[in-house]
């Protein structure tokens, strides 16, 4: 029973003190579960991280589920996941309760957010830019990325449809080039 409290508390602390999204949480998770608690070996953690990135959903949640499962099975996964999301949940609920009423009639907050809104757009643009550069600026990734952007923005295609189509294209073109190579 003690291990459940321990893993809950570990992920609760990580969830409460990492600002900047899931990727910012990874070094803290590693420090806690690999170095301090020794629940997962270092090389196993690296492999698990690669898998957590290829699964859908927030990477911090995927990692929490994996570590929990490794320790005590699915019940422990639920506990570690709740530990990771609870701090976010509590903080955001408090802000939503307060901010939703505050912004509508507070002139100071409205001024502050007039400055923040365009900067948030820039903060989302930069990672997309970096990912495109890291992908090597080759024809195929650029073609897929551009097509995805255009069909979402111009044709209002759902991003879900785009993801499914892109996955199928990746699978078919991979199998096709494998067939060419083996001949």
């Amino acid at each position: 029973m003690r291990i459940y409290f321990e893993i809950f508390w570990s992920f609760f602390k990580i969830g409460a003190f990492t600002i900047g999204g899931g990727y910012a949480m990874i070094p803290l998770i590693e420090a806690e579960v690999v170095n301090k608690k020794k629940w997962v070996a270092k090389d196993e953690f690296a492999e698990m991280l690669a898998l957590a990135q290829s699964a859908p959903g927030p990477i911090a949640i995927n990692t929490a589920v994996f570590v929990g499962h490794k320790l005590k099975g699915w019940r422990c996964s639920i506990v570690s996941m709740l530990g990771a999301i609870l701090p976010s949940f509590i903080i955001i609920v408090f802000i939503a309760l307060f901010f939703n009423s505050a912004i509508k009639n507070n002139e100071v907050i409205e001024r502050i957010f007039k400055g923040i809104r365009p900067v948030v757009v820039a903060l989302i643009a930069v990672p997309a830019f970096n990912m495109l550069i890291n992908a090597g600026l080759k024809f195929k990734p650029i073609a897929i990325a551009t097509t995805a952007t255009l069909v979402i923005c111009l044709l209002s295609v759902s991003p879900i449809i785009v993801m499914i189509t892109a996955g199928v294209i990746g699978l078919v073109s991979g199998m096709y080039s494998q067939k060419i190579n083996s001949q």
Partner: protein, 175 residues
């Protein structure tokens, strides 16, 4: 009824949310701004800003926030947060934890990912384009702030939270 729609929307977002928080923003924007109109475009930008400034994954933070805004009730937050996390739990437990070693070297998984990775970039770019509108860019000062923030984050790797704080100060002074 709205709780059920909220659950379905965020379950879909969790299920197809490959590529981390920023890519999930594209799915969230489509569901909550375009399809269901639970929040306006400018509210969405505010929610993204708040989600970045507060601890935890951006997808969880924005689900909690939008759940509240859509229903004006904490139960909306509970439903949206559970719904966005549930696919992760199910997929990780059923597939990834059990077939851990098989998945690691599976070439077909690699093929699918080779298509998904560039699509994720396209999704994020679409979010950016749809966020550029009259509510986020109100005048030339917005464009200057955008340009400065882009350069600082891209060239100098300035911390995003610091940039949001500076943007807030700039907004207070300029408007």
């Amino acid at each position: 009824m709205i709780y059920w729609q909220l659950f379905i929307s965020f379950f879909k977002i969790g299920l197809f949310g490959f590529g981390g928080g920023y890519a999930m923003l594209s799915l969230i924007q489509n569901e909550v701004v375009e399809v269901h109109e639970w929040v306006s475009a400018s509210e969405f930008a505010d929610i993204v800003a708040i989600s970045q400034m507060t601890p935890g994954p951006i997808a969880i933070n924005s689900a909690t926030y939008i759940g509240y805004t859509a229903t004006q009730s904490v139960w909306g937050s509970v439903i949206a947060t559970i719904a966005v996390s549930l696919p992760s739990v199910i997929i990780m437990l059923i597939i990834f934890c059990r077939f851990f070693l098989k998945f690691r070297d599976n070439k077909y998984v690699g093929y699918v990912m080779s298509g998904l990775k560039p699509a994720v970039i396209g999704l994020i770019a679409a979010t950016v384009i749809m966020l550029v509108n009259a509510s986020t860019f109100i005048d030339y000062k917005s464009i200057i702030l955008f340009g400065l923030a882009f350069l600082a984050a891209f060239r100098l790797k300035t911390n995003p939270i610091l940039l949001i704080v500076l943007a807030g100060v700039a907004g207070y002074v300029l408007y």
